[in-house]
């Protein structure tokens, strides 16, 4: 006689798996934090995304204080966006940065996410040709505020990541 584990892990039994959705759609905010990543995010935003919002903090050139959040982000049309409001609305914030250490808005975004207990992921793009020192400067900015850091050689990774996280 087959054990329960044997019977229930068969391909035939897979037909009886519950087909109802097992998750509500999750919302993701993708925020560019420097000018290189701003270009990547704008290109990405041209796709069709039902559960992702694209924002930029690339205009913040000096170190932004953690409590400077209100109104300090911009949407890709150039209008202002309220950081606290965006963080309140989403399940995950993806901060997109490039090597070189220009991710000045990270502490501000990270603080807002920490306050609201929203998960943060940092994605370093355009890393293939960067020096270790340039990557290190950006990592020093990202690490204190990121629960996951990804360093990708190709800029198209972020699209696959968002698809995998069901942002489409």
């Amino acid at each position: 006689m087959l054990s329960e584990s044997s019977r229930m892990s068969s391909a035939a039994e897979a037909r009886f798996r519950v087909q109802a959705p097992n998750s509500r759609p999750r919302e993701i905010a993708v925020i560019a934090v420097d000018t290189t990543s701003d270009r990547v995010v704008r290109r990405l935003a041209e796709g069709t995304w039902n559960h992702a919002t694209f924002l930029t903090a690339a205009h913040i050139t000096g170190m932004a204080s953690p409590d400077a959040g209100a109104g300090s982000l911009m949407n890709l049309s150039g209008g202002t966006a309220d950081l606290a409001g965006e963080v309140n609305r989403v399940d995950l914030v993806v901060m997109v940065a490039s090597p070189g250490g220009h991710a000045n808005a990270v502490a501000m975004i990270g603080e807002a996410c920490s306050h609201k207990r929203v998960t943060t992921t940092a994605l370093v793009v355009s890393a293939a040709t960067a020096s270790d020192d340039e990557v290190a400067r950006t990592l020093a900015q990202l690490r204190p505020w990121s629960l996951m850091v990804v360093i990708a050689n190709a800029d198209d990774y972020i699209e696959d990541m968002l698809m995998a996280l069901r942002a489409s």
Binding site: L2, S3, E4, S5, S6, M8, S9, S10, A11, E13, A14, R17, N22, S23, L92, T119, T120, T121, A127, D132, V135, A136, R137, L139, A140, R143, S146, L147, M148, V149, V150, I151, A152, N153, A154, Y157, D160, M161, M163, A164, L165, R166
Partner: protein
């Protein structure tokens, strides 16, 4: 999640499939050398990537891996007589050498040359590190022999085992790069398994149960770093190597041996989970080898006379609910290998990735899929050699290391992640 067509693309490895063709670009482990221990020993059935084959070792010690079935009437050559430099079908006496060439058809006049017209499909089979490796791709693109360190150190420094896993190769491999499950599923083993316990690094694991992960592309695949707090504001890093398509090396602990896996498709619903342990600068002790044979560490105990794990789905993995409740094991299943396999097999033979809900800590898995999809497209469309074939991609090490807080681990552990003969591994 993956779209259905992406899931199909990555999980199907039979002949002619895109992933199957790419998998066939590599030397892959086919069987253990111990399975063909002496010349003229009994042949062994081998199924790899949905191809049924027979392996044998002839009178002169040459290894052969050929089509399982006699060209005459389709009889399995597992029944064959291994004699006088060939495998003879017991039905009508047709005989094949290690290249699959038919060398005798008793019913036909020898002068007719009939046997020369018959040749079974065959693949090269070579021994390295106690493992018999095969290459199943086109002869004109056969790569150099495998250079994985576990297979090139001295024979007393390394031990490899294998077990059948009743799931597709991809969900097994993804378990190997899913670092975030270790703090849960295997938490009971860190201080009890004799092949892990006692390392200073274990204390960092136990005092910081919420590691932060970094995923970095490497030339051959990925570095997956798990970061925990150490003294003086430094970080304790555990860096796993994943090399395409299915090799992993887990970060070492103290002076214990280094270990990892290969996952090789048998067919689309089963795979071989290969497990190796080696030490780059010393022999494994008799005690270590004994413990590995007893199923400690990442190895398993077997149903006698087979490579079927003793705890398997036919006996509900010998689940022990009391041990689960008491916290001796987190899932109730004993042993790291079967803790992984039991859960991966429960997902079904090929998990439906259109329904999964990945989260941020799954970025290692997401990136691995991304790289596999990109590589298979480049290989299929343009014939670009995939990562993991170059010897440089294979001469790698995992590492456990303490680094300053702002240093990229790829930079700080650069030397430690290269396999160098007689150089100790970076371990804490």
């Amino acid at each position: 999640m993956l779209r259905k067509e992406q899931n199909d693309l990555l999980t199907q490895t039979g002949p002619g499939t895109p992933m199957g063709r790419m998998f066939r670009s590599y030397w892959v482990p086919a069987l253990l050398a111990e399975e063909l221990p002496v010349n003229e020993c009994p042949p062994v059935r081998v199924k790899l990537m949905s191809e049924r084959l027979i392996a044998f070792r002839d009178t002169d010690g040459r290894y052969g891996l050929i089509d399982e079935f006699c060209a005459h009437r389709g009889v399995s050559l597992w029944f064959g007589r291994n004699e006088e430099c060939g495998l003879r079908c017991p039905y009508h006496g047709w005989k094949y050498d290690v290249t699959g060439q038919c060398i005798d058809v008793p019913s036909e006049p020898e002068a007719s040359g009939f046997s020369k017209t018959i040749k079974l499909k065959s693949y090269p089979l070579i021994e390295r590190g106690g493992v018999l490796w095969t290459y199943m791709g086109p002869a004109d693109t056969q790569p150099p022999l495998p250079e994985w360190e576990f297979a090139t150190v001295g024979p007393k420094q390394t031990l490899t085992t294998k077990r059948i896993q009743e799931s597709n190769w991809l969900q097994a491999m993804e378990g190997g790069i899913d670092s975030s499950h270790v703090s849960f599923l295997h938490r009971g083993d860190l201080n009890s398994d004799p092949l892990f316990k006692g390392a200073r690094g274990n204390q960092y694991n136990l005092s910081d149960s919420r590691p932060v992960f970094e995923v970095v592309e490497s030339p051959g695949g990925l570095y997956i770093g798990a970061r925990r707090n150490a003294e003086h504001g430094h970080y304790y890093w555990r860096i796993t190597q994943w090399v395409m398509p299915s090799f992993t090396m887990i970060a070492p602990r103290g002076n214990h041996s280094v270990h990892g896996h290969f996952w090789i498709p048998i067919d689309d619903e089963t795979c071989w989970a290969w497990s190796y342990d080696y030490h780059p600068i010393r022999d494994l002790t008799d005690a270590e080898i004994g413990m590995m044979r007893e199923g400690k560490g990442i190895h398993v105990r077997y149903v006698p006379g087979s490579y079927q794990p003793l705890a398997n789905k036919d006996n509900d993995y010998l689940i022990n609910r009391e041990a689960q409740k008491a916290g001796r094991t987190f899932s109730g299943v004993e042993g790291i290998g079967m803790q992984d396999a039991s859960l991966q097999e429960s997902m079904g033979p090929i998990v439906d990735r259109t329904k999964e809900n990945l989260v941020s800590t799954d970025n290692g898995i997401i990136m691995a899929r991304h790289r596999l999809l990109r590589a298979v497209k480049a290989f299929t469309d343009k014939g670009i050699v995939p990562p993991g074939i170059d010897a440089v991609h294979q001469k790698v090490r995992s590492a456990a290391i303490i680094l300053p807080p702002d240093q990229p681990f790829k930079d700080g552990a650069r030397e430690a992640m290269i396999a160098r003969p007689a150089v100790a591994p970076a371990s804490v």
